[in-house]
Amino acid sequence: MMSPEVGHFALVLALALALVQSVVPIWGSRRGDTALMATASPVALGQFAFVTLSFVVLTYAYLVSDFSVENVFQNSHSTKPLIYKISGVWGNHEGSMVLWVVILTLFSALVAVFGRNLPLTLKANVLAVQGWITVAFLLFILKTSNPFARIIPAPMEGRDLNPLLQDVGLAIHPPLLYIGYVGFSMSFAFAVAALIDGKLDAAWARWVRPWTLVAWIFLTAGISMGSYWAYYELGWGGWWFWDPVENASLMPWLAGTALLHSAIVMEKREALKVWTVLLAILTFSLSLLGTFLVRSGVLTSVHAFAVDPERGVFILAILVVFIGGSLALYAWRAPTLKQGGLFAPVSREGALVLNNLFLTASCAAVFVGTLYPLALETLTGAKISVGPPFFNWTFGPLMVPLMLAMVFGPFLAWKRGDLAAVAQRLTLAFAAAILATLVTYAVTTGGPVLAPLFVGLAFYVIVGAILDVAERIQLFRAPAATSLARARGLPRAAWGAAVAHAGVGVMLLGIVGETAYKQETIVQMRPGESIAVAGYDITLQGLVPVEGPNYRDLVARLTVREGGVDAGMLEPAKRVYTARAMPTTEAALKTRGVSQLYVSPGDPGTDGSIALRFFYKPMVLLIWIGTLVMMFGGLLSLSDRRLRVGAPKPSARRVAATVQPAE
């Protein structure tokens, strides 16, 4: 029963069902025929079942090393450890596309199961749009990237033993990223369904926000994990390289973050409808672009892309149809959507619009920096690379006002806010920022002149987020019991926002610490020699060869003393995987608080010495801790299943003067 052919046929049936789903429900919704609309749910569930079956069959083929499946033959080996046999399923183009569709149909199935309180028309249209996406991807898989292509006769052994890819980080990174990408297909489907139907109602905003939030949380996790993997595995000591692969995931994240915020306005005030719909379309378009940029090989070289024209043309066609089609639909139907209420520039809505402006602008900057070299190469053949300076000078300046405004936003009242009053309440945050800046100037030597200001900004953001909560629960102003009661009564979405905003500050602190104050030393050391790095005295004890299961290490044994006290060992290594004679570098890390000492070995000399690269990275861990805090904020907000009514309040002036238990 687990024959690869079953998986192949299941994929084909899923395609047939996806075709049904993309035609019948929408036909029903145009005719008001409930029976036809009702087909959407079972068909979506059927698709999910078939695609999952095919994924299970493929995984089984990997587990039992069925080399009659070409995909397994190319990407696996009978002696691979179990976990890497499993991760090998999505470690390649074909398998990763199947995983993509599994997640896509999973989301469709979730709509089918949990969408009972959705208006039937909306549900039918949403599932139909999901059906279109599924059809496109299944056609792409079956036509150009069939994971169930067979080899007759079957070879006895598979081809892949690439040790670099045998890493836990790489094993779980793609699924996280894909859940993020595909999750944005939900808001896209809701947006397109709304455009088709010509109406955006209460259920719309209520539904879009949690899906977007789920996608955002997973995408945050995926990006953060990819960054940490690059940091500890590549041995370069960097955590973000503005590499096109990284940018491909950052763009939908920026657009998705903007979407998350504009959806709040829409849910609460029924304003920004048209803009939110556009953002939903753009976010998913960028997700599609991200998927394909990484998967098509176009990033390595436009020529590699041209080598496989069938795949390339198909990808282009999908991008054109979905991005072009949805934007055309938007241009045609958006004017029919009813506009929501008006608001003053200085208001909660205004702050969220500002947020959207800066996020989309920064997203555009990344977009240009990533795609301009590709466009140039296609048109003129010239190969240029857009490096970190471009991004630092475009992306960076956009982030500063964004963070300044981010703290103000939650303090402003809906509809009409009072900037001066908010500034007054933020006194403590300003004080914290100034203090942090001054302290940083006093304590540090060297480093960029602007760096202490950024430390101040980070503290401003963190303290501002804490003040937000403190204000809402009237900490120290009301009796402790009242504050506690208010804290308990405070919507979890409000907690989530404050926590996530604080996470941004924490991450900024880590980024500033790492970029401005890192110390780097490269030395050629002989056994017995010592070096002082950032308060550590490090002595090279010797170079020791160590045999691993499928590699050979040359380990540099370093003893670390801190203030004369033994602080353990560091054992970075030059590693050679024997099967492929592939050398890698195993960096060693020592953590002190949230700072890290990072040692990366170079080549050993002929005289028993070895080149060692020491980095001291103050507060570097805060970068990833910050993203974890952001994700936790997202989870808090997601757990808030309250409805957001957003009805007008009796007196606008009163609202502006007092802090509302908003949201």
Partner: protein
Amino acid sequence: MIGRRPKAMEGSLTIWLAIAVMTAAAIFAVLLPLSRPVTAAESEMDVAVYKDQLAEIGRDSDAGLIGAAEAEAARIEVSRRLIAASERIAATAGEGAARRRRLVAVGAIVVIPAIAAFAYGSRGHPGYAGQPLAERQRVEPAQTDMAGLIARIEAHLAANPGDGRGWEVVGPVYLRLGRVPDAVRARANALRILGPSADREADLAEAQTLSAGGVVTAEAKAGFERALVLGAGHPKAGYFIGLAAEQDGKPDEARAIWAKLVAEAPAGAPWIALLQAEIARLGGPAVATAPAPATPAPAVVAPEIRAMVDGLAARLASDGADFDGWIRLVRSYAVLGEAEKARAAVASARQRFAGEADKIGRLDGLVNELGIGGS
């Protein structure tokens, strides 16, 4: 193409059953909702959302999260939306519904199998079952035709090591499977049991050449020469003698040998073309830089092996208590192709360990294994 074997259709019935069941399930997913009457009106759900919101305002108001005035305002606003939504509820079902359902149902029954058949039919291999590695490794020797044949012949030869015909049959099979040492042994046995002939001498020498990595060793060359004595103009022997000359750095001699072979060949002999190609190869400009033997011939190594074996024999002659030494000596003689000496060594060992049944048993097994029968 060693691994190729016609895959029996044993799995095909199951796969067709699976395909049928899956297709039926897919069609069912479309038909099921069509057969069920749906009662909910279109916009009822929208209304439900607003009703939920009203309930929520009540809860928030009771919990003191929003003031009474605000709650009231919110209630009015939501009620306004609720009324608007209720007005949108309009009966739209009705005429054409039955026709549409029939169309979709028929469509599902026809289109789903058609798409599946088209998409799968062009690329699928329904008759080709999965090939899990572990299962293949377990099943291979018993089920594969070639492997099964060999297993049967080997069992037969283990029981009747004196069956020269059997050795003769299995020899080329071993060669094709790349089990060259086995082929050498089988052909040596055939030659010994059935007596020398031009073909057998040449076949054994050919196997020996292959086992030396394509180098015509002194031993093999002697075999080919014996074959030519038994049958003048034996093509295989002639070819390899020529090859030996070429490997010795005498391409002219090789060319002369092959040319003579071609000249004397019966008309239409299939190997003429091969020889002519070889002659052309040597006759071309490549002659000037005729390749030296790629690897040193084993003949260079042989004296050392010889010395080791002789040393072992001398040691056992003076002190014969080392049974494993005897086994090693017999094996060495067999490997060197000296069956007579091997048999003599077996005889000595039998005498030495006459009282010990297990050792005699091992000797018998060894004799069978090496195919140096007789006693």
